[in-house]
Every structure is written in structure tokens, then in C-alpha cells.
């Protein structure tokens, strides 16, 4: 073996055997935003065998503050994130086999890859996709690492099918109106801290040191100087529909997914969350104004507009995204703003 990984193999937790195992593994990274670019860079440098990165977005200026793989050139070229990530990662380590997929991480797409994947690193920005990852993980017996951050706060939890509780045990349903980086802001160090937790877990799993895997959910707030760890064994729910005895993998089912439709002749995409929620329109109006949207509203809906996009959000979570027929683009805007 070359000198390339010498410092990592010197680390007793990994050693030459662990390094060899890491080099044979295939990791799927879902999302190539802040967490995705950091996670991908760490694993590329660490010498994972194969990396598949899926993302539906392109690089924008507001990404550069924290999405470490991207450059001003990528913004100017409006490169898809997965493509820009692959380009940069191949310069970092040409030995890694990297596949970039530009598109939505639907159950169908994830299932297509599930056969050959050893680990999934969650780097998405929404719970709908995380619940899909969670069901794929249970169905195909693939460990995954949840990671998320907003503002100065972040959390991570490692899910190993048959061993730990799953995300559906913890959440029971997709939480609506979680804060996102587009509404609550985000600082780079919070991203890096989540990446550190996720990739440390990844290296343990890839080198097959399962005893070292963190059994607790870790969360921190770098601005308020908190670091907490929550023991999770009691969270395992025998009746869970994703990992329990009578499992149904509900999030692989069309019924429980966000519904989208292009409204004919109106240049508009309608988005309806799977379960009607109750959005606090007043609070959201304030957040959207702060982001530079011109917002108007009444008790039933709010309409918001900036130079680029125009949409109407109803109190139950349904939205009309105007000025586009592109479902992926509309969904992306919705999930970035409303979780």
C-alpha cells in the first residue's frame, strides 16, 4: 500500500486490515449540499472504494459559504452539484470510483442501488427523503447515518438494521415545518461538526469495528456551548412500521409521499405534503421577508415573491409554485423552505 493512507492505518482503530476493508466498500451519499460535500470529501480522502452521490440541485452563490467542494466557477456554470462534486473529488483522489447522479432520491432510484451499497450517508435537507432512506435501509439491511443541522445546532444518529432503533421509531411521522438552512440560517462550523460525527461513524462501519459505533443520538449547539448525548435503546418500537415485526416500509409507498402535479397551462407546480399539516403562516411570513421575499397574506394563505420565484402556501401545507413546470425544481424550493 502506498504512503497515501499511512497516517490512517497507523491509527489503531483502523490499522492495515481496516483500511483494506474501507477500500472495498461502496458508500451512497444522498444529497450533495453542505453535509454531502463534506462527507464525500472525508471519505474520498480516506480511501473508500466506491462513492455514489445523488443530488437534484445545481450550485448557487449562497452555497459557497459552507459547501466545501464548490467554487465560484461552478456557480457561474450552474453545474449540477453531483457533477461539480465528482469533478473536485477526482482531483483530490483519482483512485476512487465516483458516480454522480443528477436527480431526485426517490424510492425507485434508491432501490436500484441498494444491492451493492455498504452504507448510506444521509446528507439531505428534508425528512421525506430521510424516511425513504430509512425504509430502504431496513428493507435491504444497509446501515445509515442520520445527520442534520440548522443555525448553530446539529445532530447525528447511526442506524443499524436489527440492532438500533430506526428513524421511524424516533419520529413516528415526518415532522412538518422543521427549520431548514434556508429559513433558520446555518454556520459552517455546525456543518463541519455533523460531518465529523457522520464520517467517524462511517469509518467505524466501513472498517467493520461495530463495537465502536456510537449507540446514542448526539446533538450540540456550537453557539450556546451545549453538547448532549441521548441513549436510544428504549426508542426501539416493536410496532414500528419500518423496522418492527409487521413492517410495511410505508415510505416506499406512493401514498405517503409528497404529491406533485403540473397545473396545465398555468406554468405552475402544485405540491401537497402527504399529511395535511398546520403551518404557522405568520411566523413563516416573517422568515420569508427576512430572506428578501415580498410577502402578502391572509389567515388562509401567504404568497411570496422574489426576483426568482413566486409561490403561494396554504395553511395546510399545500403550495403552488408559479413560473415553473419542473417538478424537481419546485419540490426542491419547497423542501428548502419548509423542510
Amino acid at each position: 500500500m502506498s504512503e497515501r493512507y499511512s497516517r490512517q492505518t497507523l491509527f489503531p482503530g483502523i490499522g492495515p486490515e481496516g483500511q483494506e476493508k474501507i477500500g472495498r466498500k461502496h458508500v451512497l451519499i444522498v444529497g450533495a449540499g453542505a453535509l454531502g460535500s463534506g462527507n464525500a470529501e472525508v471519505l474520498t480522502r480516506a480511501g473508500v472504494g466506491r462513492l455514489t452521490i445523488i443530488d437534484r440541485d445545481y450550485v448557487e452563490e449562497s452555497n459557497l459559504q459552507r459547501q466545501q467542494l464548490y467554487t465560484e466557477e461552478d456557480v457561474a456554470e450552474k453545474l449540477p452539484k453531483a457533477v461539480a462534486a465528482k469533478k473536485r473529488l477526482e482531483k483530490i483522489n483519482s483512485e476512487i470510483n465516483i458516480t454522480a447522479i443528477v436527480g431526485d432520491a426517490t424510492p425507485e432510484v434508491l432501490a436500484e442501488f441498494a444491492g451493492g451499497i455498504d452504507l448510506i450517508l444521509d446528507s439531505t435537507d428534508n425528512f421525506e427523503t430521510r424516511m425513504t432512506i430509512n425504509d430502504i435501509s431496513q428493507k435491504y439491511n444497509i446501515p445509515w447515518v442520520y445527520g442534520a443541522c440548522v443555525a448553530s445546532f446539529g445532530m447525528s444518529f447511526t442506524i443499524i438494521p436489527g440492532v438500533t432503533p430506526c428513524l421511524n421509531c424516533l419520529l413516528k411521522a415526518v415532522p412538518l415545518q422543521g427549520l431548514t438552512c434556508d429559513t433558520g440560517g446555518i454556520i459552517g462550523p455546525a456543518v463541519q461538526m455533523v460531518i465529523a460525527h457522520q464520517t467517524a461513524e462511517a469509518l467505524k462501519i466501513l472498517s467493520e469495528d461495530y463495537d465502536a459505533v456510537r449507540p446514542s443520538l448526539v446533538s450540540f449547539d456550537l453557539w450556546r456551548n451545549d453538547y448532549t448525548s441521548m441513549k436510544m435503546s428504549r426508542a426501539k418500537d416493536p410496532g414500528c412500521l419500518s423496522c418492527g415485526e409487521n413492517r410495511e416500509y410505508p415510505y416506499l409507498d406512493e401514498e405517503n409521499r409528497m404529491k406533485t402535479a403540473v397545473l396545465c397551462g398555468r406554468d405552475t407546480v402544485q405540491i401537497r405534503p402527504p399529511h395535511a399539516g398546520s403551518f404557522n403562516l405568520e411566523e413563516l411570513a416573517g422568515k420569508l421577508s427576512a430572506l428578501g421575499y415580498a410577502v402578502k397574506g391572509n389567515p388562509y394563505l401567504l404568497s411570496a415573491e422574489n426576483g426568482e420565484s413566486r409561490f403561494v402556501l396554504f395553511q395546510d401545507g399545500r403550495a403552488l409554485i408559479h413560473g415553473t413546470k419542473d417538478i424537481a425544481q419546485a419540490k426542491s424550493l419547497y423542501q428548502r423552505l419548509f423542510g
Binding site: M155, L171, R224
Partner: protein, 77 residues
């Protein structure tokens, strides 16, 4: 007495890092309702709850002196 801790945006909503209250004998679900009313914290239904740093389901009963933490799942990435 019990110490109740709030994390992430719940802290902004509650207006405090933590509050002291007597929650002994109540279930986690009952405490959620009480806190939502008393401190105006919304979205508690989706927050994860830890009692003494261990995940606690809604039906768990709180004992005197237990430290309770509300940790909201976040989705950014």
C-alpha cells in the same frame, strides 16, 4: 422539582434555556401539553424527549428530580 431543558429553536420559543417545574407523576405526553400551554412552545409533539439523558416515549412517567430535555429533530443539511 424537575429541570426542563430546551434545545435549538425550542429555546427561542420558550425564552429560556431551562425552566424549573414540578412534573413528577406526569407522563411525557402530559408534560408536552402543559409546556405548550404555559410557555407558548409549539411543535413539541414532534420533539424527542429525554429523561436523564435517555430517550423517553410519550407514555413514560416522570419522577421527582428527573431532568427532562426537549430536542427537536432538525432537517437542514
Amino acid at each position: 422539582m424537575n429541570k426542563v431543558l430546551f434545545f435549538a429553536h425550542l429555546r427561542d420559543e420558550a425564552g429560556a434555556e431551562s425552566v424549573m417545574m414540578d412534573a413528577a407523576g406526569k407522563t411525557v405526553a402530559e408534560l408536552k401539553t402543559l409546556i405548550a400551554k404555559k410557555y407558548g412552545v409549539t411543535r413539541l409533539d414532534t420533539a424527542m424527549v429525554a429523561i436523564n439523558e435517555e430517550f423517553a416515549p410519550d407514555a413514560d412517567r416522570i419522577g421527582d428530580g428527573d431532568i427532562i430535555a426537549f430536542i427537536p429533530p432538525v432537517s437542514g443539511g
